[in-house]
Amino acid sequence: MKRAVPLALALLAAAIPAAFAVQGAAPIDVIYPDPQPVERIRPILLENTRYVSTNDLARIFRATKYWRPELRKLSLRVGDHNVRFTVDAPIVVVDETAHNLVQSPRLVQGAVYVPEAVLDGLIDWGVVANATWDEPSRTVRFRSPVHTVRQAQLWVRGRVTEVSATLLKTLSPRLIYATPGEVRLLFEGGTLDSARVFSGGAVANGTIQETADGVEIRLVLAPGAQGYSLSVSSNRLRLAVTDDPNLVQQGIFSKLEPIAIGGPDGKLRTIVIDPGHGGKDLGAVLPGGGAEKEATLEFARILRAELQDRLGVRVILTRDNDQDVSVQRRSEIANESNADLFVSVHFDAEGSIRWGGVRVYALSASPAPDASDRLPLALGGEGGAEMHPWESAQTQATGTSMAIGQAITDALAKNYPQTSITFRTGRLSVLEPVAGAAVLLECAPAPRNPEAMSLQGYTIHDIARIVAQSIQELARGGHA
């Protein structure tokens, strides 16, 4: 009897899972376009037929499920299509057309399962247009979107270095800036097959990547670069740079010019610094409980002193105490002062700069969706005044602003290579109406010492000094 009891218990233990198990079938891989990871779904085997769960189908194909228990009908709404299954009936109605199924849908453990052949059917019936089902490899593969910029390559031919790419449709590249240090190009709204990094010849470091604005090519040039040329023909982009001054003199290449941040005479006269937030608007809560509005004012005062010492220019603060200033008024102060440069200062301690760092922003090179309705108004014919809509005044200076932003970013990154320092673009309210060059800095204080505003081993004095030094170099005709 003593041996019989364990035996009975063992039989019992084996029987419990067997009673509840549903036999699994070979899994199906669902391959989405990058960057989504591959997903694996597990069909089940019922009467020698593979079945997939409608829950999985709904998730994969972004469908909405409708279940009517009294009729035992389950509908999947995929886009404009309606696919209706009935439990235990070997038929499916797609929109208004009925199709036979090899086996009936089944209700198993509370979920509706349909024969695996439905995967093929959804594509055949035109319900799913952006995927394929390959039964031998058991793979559902979603097609990648058709990229408009593809196969970017770098060629070095003697003293000419060329980046070429195939364009799928007629895209007009927009040259953001071309300085002796860097060339930046944007295909607004373009998509890219794959990001690349390249170097060689006159290009010290080049990247082509997708940004929020489209496809961007950025070439950091080797010392001695003289000219550039840009052409698009037969769906082919050719962006070339050279260190041969003769090619520039012959007019084959355009001269690379330093960014000019001063007025028409190249002199920098007025800089407006905007300490973000203030008054009732506290801004972000910084580590240790300090308010962003206090940190921005302190930083702005330090930066003002640095710029006045180095450049001897007029520096105006949009606020010099703890007061409310509207976003619009800040931009107005820049325009009323005829600012050559506007620097808005902010502090944050979230995201990638949670543990210290700086983000530098310029206005997005891509216009706002309805900006085409607000084109500049020319007054007095050719050579006359040009009036720009208030909210898009910055678009005329976007290239200069981006070059300055990139130069400040590079200088900070060079000094603090271990810290998160990035350059970005975006639709920033305070920059949009500013007519001159404009950037926004977002600094992060180190969390352990917010009182001293130390930034991972450096202080805001150091940050202000590097920013002022970058502006000084640009004012002297230094390049980004």
């Binding site: 019992l12 499920k65 279940w67 979920a111 969706p369 639709r427 977002e442």
Partner: protein, 185 residues
């Protein structure tokens, strides 16, 4: 039949009874499930379950992450929008970052045939916001991407606060005109 054989016989018979009982229970349970499926019975045929991808923040990063959630929706587009954003406002379930200020509610949703989705929020969205560019960017991207991912045909999102266009949510980004889904990846 000796004593040992008798005991074995009792043990085996007992096992058969127990195992058979479990199979019978399992069969009945499956049968019961057929009668009362776990698929949630819905109030009317106009309701369904939409698998929605909701976007939340990632701690220590500037990116967003999608969480899959089953959302009970009605058939009308505006109701679907409200249901999806109600789930988004409910917050993440996997240690991700909730981006909306406390007390934020979606008051109304309008969907034009030109592909612009109007989302009308209460004032808590702007008045309760505390954060820098990263949080504001993530919040706007979460709103726009959730629409782009789950509502085919929506190309742009217009943010309203109590019926009026808002200049900005947190003082950094311009939301006065519609936000293109393409620009907030």
């Amino acid at each position: 039949m000796n004593r040992i054989q008798r005991r074995w016989g009792i043990a085996i018979a007992g096992s058969i009874v127990v195992v058979g009982g479990f199979f019978w229970i399992a069969r009945v349970r499956t049968h019961d499930q057929n009668l009362a499926p776990r698929v949630v019975p819905l109030a009317s045929e106009l309701e369904g379950i939409k698998g929605a991808y909701l976007y939340f923040g990632v701690p220590g990063a500037d990116s967003l992450v999608a969480e899959y959630r089953d959302v009970v929706v009605k058939d009308r587009p505006a109701d679907q929008v409200r249901a999806i954003y109600r789930e988004l406002l409910a917050g993440p379930s996997k240690g991700h970052v909730a981006l909306f200020p406390d007390g934020t509610e979606l008051l109304e949703a309008y969907w034009t045939d030109k592909g612009t989705l109007y989302l009308d929020w209460n004032k808590a969205l702007t008045q309760g916001f505390r954060g820098g560019t990263a949080r504001e960017h993530a919040l706007i991207a979460s709103i726009v991407r959730t629409a782009g991912e789950n509502l085919p045909g929506v190309d742009r999102v217009m943010i309203l606060v109590e019926g009026e266009p808002a200049e900005t949510i947190g003082g950094h980004f311009d939301v006065l005109s519609p936000l293109s889904v393409r620009d907030w990846p």
